[in-house]
């Protein structure tokens, strides 16, 4: 026991003496929370658009005005020639062009029908679809008011309630994702590198010939990172609740319990990686190149899982952070209890147990 404590102290010293490691361990989650909380939104606002106005009459100007007062749009310039549309897009920042044909007003009042053309830069299809639908709504609103005097004012008023996230903040979606990402990656990285480093330097042999049980060595390696990760989790939670006003509707205890499982899972994965690699460089690259993108993609916080083709949805199931992400959302935002999420917790636990067994076995084989 005493040996274990000495060993754990040594590991903590390794970490806290190195300010660059600390930057990753604590700087990264803090920076991410701030970025996700305040900088990154999926909201579309201030999109730059161009108006191509062949009509320049009262109707086209009125509609243009309505567009420009909407917070979604910023009219970059008005052009009078279709030939310039392509060039506007190629310059880069213009997302949409609204074209009013000549005689727009005349058509509207003589023939009762007029047309507006909306050309969107669909290289980003989402923004294109959203912006087009915004323009559509603005035009519909204008049309309704135009017709109100002649056909009476029948009005259906839709009352929209945004559940869970009334201000449509991106952070509600992202914070649980960042927790999953940071806890998993940082922990895997730290564990695998710290073990491989000892292998590379030959100090692992010194430890293994010491009277300590090899498993004590592994446990002693894991405990500091387990606690560091819990501290990390606390930092993220405090920041997201007090700084980003994230809700905490469920049980904190349950959240820590589940996070503990995820951290354990990451530690086992780290051990597994350290078993199969010989150099720090390889261990780092496996984690950073091999795991970063898949974890971001398959957790479901950046891209909706239901959009993925079926085989990839199946692949996503083996990414532990996917389950953790669902659990965190359910606990923090929806305030659900263990009864509603026991399935996900069970899957995560089974995964962790499996990984732990495989990695310990692997470690044992290597010893012989």
């Amino acid at each position: 026991m005493e040996q274990l404590i000495i060993f754990i102290k040594k590991e903590f010293k390794h970490v806290f003496r190195d300010n660059k490691t600390l930057l990753m361990l604590f700087g990264l989650p803090i920076a991410q929370i701030i970025l996700f909380g305040f900088a990154l939104t999926n909201e579309i606002k201030n999109s730059k658009i161009v108006v191509c106005d062949y009509a320049q009459d009262i109707s086209s100007i009125q509609i243009t005005e309505r567009i420009s007062t909407s917070k979604n749009f910023e009219i970059k310039k008005t052009i009078f020639d279709k030939e310039q549309i392509e060039a506007s897009f190629q310059e880069g920042d213009v997302k949409l062009v609204v074209v009013f044909p000549a005689n727009f007003h005349k058509d509207l009042y003589h023939f009762n029908i007029a047309q507006i053309q909306v050309i969107a830069d669909a290289s980003d299809p989402n923004t294109a679809a959203t912006l087009t639908s915004y323009i559509n709504n603005i035009v519909k609103g204008y049309q309704q008011e135009l017709n109100a005097p002649s056909i009476g004012s029948i009005k259906i008023v839709p009352e929209i309630r945004m559940l869970y996230n009334p201000e449509l903040k991106g952070s509600t979606n992202f914070v649980p994702g960042v927790m999953a990402l940071v806890l998993l990656l940082v922990c895997v990285l730290m564990t695998s590198v710290s073990i491989v480093k000892e292998k590379e330097k030959g100090t692992m042999e010194v430890l293994l010939v010491s009277p300590m049980n090899p498993f004590t060595v592994i446990i002693a390696k894991a405990i500091p990172y387990f606690f560091l990760s819990l501290i990390n989790l606390t930092v993220i939670l405090v920041m997201s609740i007090y700084l980003l006003d994230m809700p905490m509707n469920g049980s904190m205890l349950l959240l820590y319990f589940v996070s503990g499982i995820l951290i354990l899972c990451a530690l086992s994965l780290g051990l597994l990686i350290s078993n199969v690699t010989k150099t720090q460089e390889t261990a780092m690259l496996i984690t950073l190149m091999g795991m970063l993108l898949p974890v971001i993609m398959f957790s479901g916080f950046m891209f909706p899982l239901e959009n993925m083709p079926a085989p990839l949805q199946i692949v996503a199931n083996i990414v532990p952070s996917k389950w953790y992400y669902i659990i965190v959302k359910s606990i923090m935002i929806k305030g659900l209890g263990i009864m509603s999420i026991w399935k996900e917790v069970l899957i995560l636990s089974l995964m962790t147990t499996g990984l732990l067994i495989v990695s310990l076995k692997n470690f044992n084989i290597r010893l012989q």
């Binding site: 190195d18 660059k20 930057l23 990753m24 880069g92 053309q117 559509n136 259906i156 309630r161 190149m289």
Partner: protein, 373 residues
């Protein structure tokens, strides 16, 4: 130049001899590029709606069928109470609820006014926003139809309508992959550049071989070039495979712009990027440090590059950060040139800024790399 030749020979031998490293450079990133775009589909489709029809009138049924016929929504529940529908939201089976109140039809005909209740699961802001917006426009269409119907009796009907015809340029089928593939390629090149270059020099420091180099008469800039050139070439090679094989052949993205321009920009970007990796390595003593620092910056580079979320929507201070991120410019250029066919004139600003980055990072790194302590 002769020492440079020996340095390059040595670097290439070391890289190609490292059996663990090669798959990490070529196979893993490209495999990801192949698979990830399928996953990175942010297109909002399959918005699941649950409808609570308390009215059961011809109006409410007409509205329901209009919504389902629009193609935007999928009916996941048709329930008798709001609570039942809410359960569907909790279990993520429904994204939004439309509740049609009692006497919807009666009140509309009598008072010319009625409310509809919509509840949206807004955890995913984009889906919520777009879903709400679609539903809104269907309702306002429906509103107009009823207005017209009700006023049929009046003889002097003058109904004005404005049609919005929408065109989607550059990506008419609204395929999200076309948007993601080039940007993911950019990210992969960035990862290879920063990680490999950053780690490589620190590895020599940690193993001790750099001592032997420092005590030799080799020139600083030769040594640094000897490190940069191999990774520059590898960066170009990985990009080319990703671009021609995966992006072009597999995903069918045919670049509209000038390939020479794209490669020139890639070359410039790599110089800046490798300079950054070098800079990290001059500040680190161990591989663990280099990795920690590069991972930190890599995350910020990825998140602040406009890869996943639009830079326009960021607050001012965040836009400033995005604009001091070299990756932002590369993603921008690759999307512009490949997808829209932008030319030299359109990316002049990007070129000058990248030259600035390249000079800044490399000069800083060379000044900071010391053979003598």
């Amino acid at each position: 130049m002769r020492p440079l030749k020996f340095l390059l020979k040595k670097e290439f031998k070391q890289i190609f001899r490292n059996k663990a490293l090669l798959p990490m450079i070529f196979v893993m990133p490209l495999l990801q590029l192949l698979i990830m775009p399928l996953a990175a589909d942010y297109e909002v489709k399959n918005i699941n709606i649950s409808i609570v029809d308390n009215d059961q009138s011809s109006y409410s049924k007409e509205l329901t069928s209009k919504i389902l016929a629009s193609g935007y929504f999928q009916l996941s529940g048709y329930t008798h109470s709001f609570d039942e529908s809410f359960k569907l939201i909790e279990s993520d089976e429904a994204d939004l609820i439309l509740e049609i109140p009692h006497n919807f039809e009666k009140n509309l005909s009598r008072n010319g006014f009625e409310k509809l209740f919509i509840a949206v699961n807004a955890i995913n802001g984009t889906k919520a926003g777009l879903g709400g917006s679609y539903l809104n426009s269907i309702i306002s269409d429906f509103n107009q139809n009823i207005s017209v119907k009700l006023s049929r009796n009046s003889p002097n009907l003058e109904f004005k309508s404005i049609e919005v015809a929408s065109l989607n340029w550059y990506n008419p089928y609204m395929n999200y992959k076309i948007f993601m593939v080039p940007a993911l390629l950019a990210i992969i090149v960035t990862m290879i550049g920063v990680y490999m270059c950053g780690l490589n020099i620190v590895k020599e420091k940690e193993v001790g071989t750099i001592e032997q180099i420092n005590v030799s008469p080799i020139k600083k800039h030769h040594y640094i070039l000897g490190k940069l050139i191999p990774f520059w070439i590898i960066g170009i090679a990985v990009f080319s495979i990703g671009f021609f094989v995966i992006s072009w052949l597999v995903y069918g993205i045919i670049p509209l712009g000038n390939l020479f321009l794209l490669y020139a920009y890639l070359g410039l970007f790599l110089v800046a990027l490798l300079g950054f990796g070098l800079l990290i390595s001059t500040y680190s003593e161990t591989q663990q440090q280099a990795m920690s620092v590069s991972f930190f910056f890599m995350m910020i580079f990825i998140l602040m590059s406009g890869l996943f979320t639009s830079i326009d929507a960021m607050p001012d201070w965040a836009q400033k950060i995005a604009y001091i991120n070299p990756v932002t410019y590369f993603i921008d250029v690759i999307r512009m040139v490949v997808l829209k066919g932008s030319g030299l004139g359109d990316i002049t600003k990007h070129i000058f800024i990248m030259i600035g980055f390249a000079i800044l990072f490399n000069t800083w790194a060379i000044v900071n790399y010391r053979k003598t302590t």
